[in-house]
């Protein structure tokens, strides 16, 4: 490590080092958590912020884009509430400025099948709640999150428990000045259980706050999880969210990520199929404009055979926005009978928008069916003309076509009310465009 010439640290990297050194003694979590943080920061420090020559960060050069590292946000003093998803009755768990705030959450309707604890309370008792390694553990952003984690929750859904009511993990930033938060949550779904989990990220406009969040999701044998993530951060926010999912035998995992807000957002998902005969559908919709930069990066690892995975992403890019999709399917040598398909489609609405797509396949087993498709283009002129010739004005015609385009992605979400809520977000975005 010493022999390599390390480039000079950027101001952001220096600030992070200083912040870590200063805050380490005061950070929550006793015992082994301290050494966990130190080890994580050591790993981060050795490589620094990722830049475009690091393959996984090719289109999101964090080293250049993250000019500064904001100081840690302090806990909120006031009482308030977190936004909910219109039309959806869910139990809201509030994570404000990176900390679990029971005062802001719905605590009344807790199902007996779900156990909730604060992050550090849980971690201090047990650090070995999962088998094997967490997918994404060698990622730079994840190291940073482990080093600085400010708080979060641990949800355990008990064996065979089937909660009809979704749990909504609402992350919110509150404040007038830019600051940083590092929420970390763990969700454990025991064998045979069922969970609908909504995760949202929101914050004020024109405030340059920073979020580095991480969620570990462990899905037991035969369990079923529907995970919906919504990013409507403020326009000056920087957010990197890491999701590490390990899926057990015969489990079903459905994930959908909608991103409409944020100045610079990276949603990175690391999924590993450790058991046979699982099914996963990972979808996404991105609607951005102005100078927004949204990067959806996925790594789907098939280490066991007979699993099916489908990834379907659609993005709509207006203004000078930049949409990135990187999806890598890795099929290990013993993962025979894998069926993996990935599709990514980008719709460009302006000449200054940019779409980068990198759907990768790394296949080491031969009895598999794997494929990917990617397209990028503009609205179909012929279709638009058809609508206009029927009397629909141009802007409305475009909106209808864009709605149809994005609607096809949102259709994958199982819950009808959640689907409607997501479609509502898309329509608001379109109306703001007019």
């Amino acid at each position: 490590m010493k022999a390599d010439v390390r480039a000079i640290k950027t101001p952001a990297e220096q600030a992070l080092s200083a912040a870590f050194a200063a805050a380490l003694s005061e950070m929550p979590g006793r015992g082994p958590i301290g050494s966990l943080r130190e080890e994580a920061f050591r790993c981060f420090d050795a490589s620094g912020l990722p830049h475009r020559r690091i393959e996984e960060w090719k289109y999101t050069d964090l080293r250049t884009l993250m000019r500064e590292a904001k100081p840690l946000a302090g806990p909120v003093k006031s009482k308030g509430s977190v936004p909910s998803l219109p039309g959806v009755e869910a139990t809201r768990v509030a994570i404000v400025n990176g900390r679990y705030e029971p005062g802001w959450s719905d605590l009344t309707s807790t199902d007996p099948g779900i156990a909730l604890s604060e992050l550090f309370t849980f971690l201090e008792d047990q650090t070995t709640y999962r088998d094997g390694e967490i997918p994404g553990k060698d990622d730079t952003a994840f190291w940073l999150n482990t080093a600085f984690m400010t708080g979060g929750v641990v949800l355990r859904v008990k064996r065979e428990a089937r909660d009809k009511r979704p749990i909504h993990l609402a992350h919110v930033f509150v404040g007038d000045a830019g600051a940083a938060m590092y929420p970390r949550s763990i969700v454990i779904v025991e064998p045979g259980a069922q969970l609908t989990l909504i995760e949202s990220f929101a914050g004020p406009a024109d405030v340059d706050y920073q979020v580095n969040s991480a969620l570990e999701l462990v899905i037991g044998e035969g369990a079923q999880v529907d995970h919906i993530r919504i990013g409507h951060d403020g326009n000056s926010a920087l957010r990197i969210s890491t999701l590490g999912v390990s899926v057990g035998t015969k489990a079903i995992y459905r994930d959908f990520v909608l991103t409409v807000g944020g100045g610079l957002v990276r949603n990175q998902t690391f999924t590993r199929f450790g058991g046979e005969h699982t099914e996963a559908t990972i979808g996404g919709a991105t609607l951005i404009k102005g100078r927004q930069h949204v990067d959806n990066t996925l790594v789907i690892e098939h280490t066991a055979g007979g699993c099916t995975s489908r990834e379907r992403f659609r993005s709509v890019l207006d203004g000078e926005s930049h949409g990135v999709f990187q999806g890598k399917i890795v099929v290990g040598p013993h993962a025979q009978k894998t069926d993996a398909k990935m599709a990514s489609h980008a719709l460009l609405l302006s000449d200054e928008a940019e779409a980068d797509n990198k759907p990768e396949l790394e296949i080491f087993a031969d009895d598999v069916q794997c494929g990917h498709g990617a397209t990028a283009g503009a609205l179909d002129g012929a279709l638009k003309f058809y609508l206009m010739s029927r009397g629909i004005p141009e802007t409305q015609a475009e909106a209808l076509l864009i709605q149809a385009f994005i609607g096809e992605a949102i259709e994958d979400v199982a819950d009808e009310r959640i689907r409607d809520a997501l479609m509502g977000e898309a329509i608001s975005w379109l109306e703001a465009r007019a």
């Binding site: 980008a346 928008a353 797509n357 598999v368 069916q369 990617a374």
Partner: protein, 493 residues
């Protein structure tokens, strides 16, 4: 369940140790001292009687190369290359020839073994087509670092086509070389291109004047013979306005224990309404069954569709070399220009292939088309890496890409890494890729009709690569089909 066990056995017994062209020619050759230094460069330049400006160009490249670092991002791993442990120049001793009779007869015998028709008579008779007619192919043979003979010069001269070793072009047509050399692959482009710019030994130079359709296909065969020589060819092909030329490049090399380096640079320039078709059938030594030895193939090939409505197509069949790192590219600069890439890449044994193409859309209404078929067998790893990008100003850019991988056996890997970058809304890009194996049902169906497992595999593989084979010039298509069968059938040379 993976490919029928028997088929896997067949593939395993394959020709990795039965390389058909693995023999050595014992001739005397003249070598520059080992290693790389300014003196080596001066030595090479001197041997070729180069003008001062050429030497200066080389030296500048060398000095730049000293400041650069080898790239490490491709999905290939290889033992470190010791650049000082290589001979950068080796030429057979007797080289000032007035006629073929003066060529070292050993060299001629080598080419005979390779099936290259060097004698004018043989060439006039030409290559026989399936329908009984004969075509004519002009051959420029490179033996290690020097072009041994160039045939058909006179006929081409009548049409106005220049086809000669680049060393000759540097002496005879300096204005043309100066105008175009390094204009598509600048000296600073990448580590291996810079090295090539400093020590390139020879290669082909082609210039087709305005409105001329080159009357025959031009071809070059390469061979690396000497131990520890790198082969650094430099090829420059220019098609002036409205011109057409089809160029075939074929390569073979003898068995060696030490790895051998091949770092070539090919530059193509097509002006308004011109078309260049560049086909390669590559069969370098892939290393033995343990993965030892073999050719390291690091090549920079780029075509500049400089003129409006120009067209450049790359067609390749790759079955050899231990490590391959090459991305033939097209810069679609001229409005309405078109770039095409058709490729079959087969890897077996312990080969590692990381290759693909780049299509850069700069002009308006440009089109690119990529069809890539990868076949991985044995313990090899086969990666397709492609970039399709449309610049902000590249209105109306269109691309269609289809890359498919076929896996034979369960110890190999096939990977696809496409980069699709659209920087304006009028670009329409479509990409599809699949990875699969030859299904057992398909194999059984063919076998029930009487074909052995080997024959069935060859038939299915041929069907898999058909789209690309159709793009090859006739002569090459036949050789390519044979080569594919050999790579996958294990027939003894």
């Amino acid at each position: 369940m993976p490919a029928v066990q028997e088929t896997v056995e067949q593939v395993r017994r394959i020709d990795v140790d039965q390389y058909k062209y693995g023999f050595e020619t014992k001739i005397e050759s003249e070598k520059a001292p080992k290693g790389l230094s300014e003196n080596t460069i001066r030595f090479i330049s001197g041997k070729k009687n180069e003008p001062e400006w050429m030497l200066a160009w080389r030296l500048e490249a060398y000095r730049r190369w000293l400041t650069m670092r080898e790239p490490t991002w491709a999905r290939v791993s290889y033992p470190k290359i010791d650049y000082q442990d290589i001979y950068y120049y080796a030429a057979p001793k007797k080289t000032s020839l007035k006629s073929l009779d003066e060529v070292d007869p050993e060299i001629l015998r080598t080419y005979e073994k390779l099936g290259i028709p060097l004698r004018e008579q043989e060439i006039l008779a030409g290559v026989e087509r399936g329908d009984g007619t004969r075509s004519r192919v002009a051959v420029d043979a490179v033996f290690d670092s020097v072009s041994v003979a160039t045939t058909f010069k006179e006929e081409l001269k009548k049409a106005g086509v220049m086809f000669m070793p680049i060393s000759e072009a540097i002496r005879e047509h300096p204005e043309l070389v100066k105008k175009y050399l390094g204009s598509v692959v600048p000296t600073s482009d990448n580590f291996f291109a810079t090295l090539n710019s400093a020590v390139f030994s020879d290669g082909s130079f082609v210039y087709v004047p305005e409105g001329v359709r080159c009357p025959m296909e031009l071809s070059t065969y390469f061979r690396i013979n000497e131990k520890n020589t790198g082969q650094f060819e430099r090829t420059l092909i220019i098609a002036d306005k409205g011109a057409y030329v089809s160029y075939l490049e074929g390569c073979t090399a003898p068995m060696r224990d030490e790895n051998q380096l091949h770092a070539a640079v090919v530059e193509l320039v097509a002006l308004d309404d011109a078309e260049i078709k560049y086909s390669t059938v590559q069969n370098w030594y892939p290393g033995d069954a343990q993965g030892k030895g073999g050719i390291f193939n690091f090549v920079t090939k780029r075509g500049d569709c400089r003129g409006a409505r120009s067209k450049i197509s790359w067609t390749q069949v790759e079955t050899g070399s231990a490590i391959t790192w090459k991305y033939p590219s097209c810069i679609l600069r001229g409005d309405n220009s078109r770039g095409e890439f058709y490729s079959i890449a087969i890897s077996n044994g312990h080969q590692q292939v990381d290759s693909g193409t780049k299509m850069l859309h700069l002009g308006k209404n440009t089109i690119s088309r990529i069809i890539s078929k990868g076949i991985a067998a044995g313990k090899s790893n086969n990666t397709y890496r492609g970039l399709v990008s449309a610049h902000r100003k590249a209105k109306g850019a269109r691309n269609f890409t289809n890359c498919d991988s076929l896996l034979i056996g369960d110890k190999c890997g096939a990977h696809t890494v496409p980069y699709i970058e659209a920087k304006n809304s009028s670009a329409t890009f479509e990409h599809e890729a699949t990875t699969s194996k030859i299904s057992e049902d398909m194999l059984f169906y063919c076998r029930q009709r009487g074909m052995s497992a080997e024959e069935a595999t060859a038939l299915v593989v041929n069907g898999f690569v058909k789209d690309v084979l159709q793009q090859l010039p006739m002569e090459f298509a036949v050789e390519a089909q044979k080569l594919i069968s050999i790579s996958l059938e294990g027939s003894v040379g």
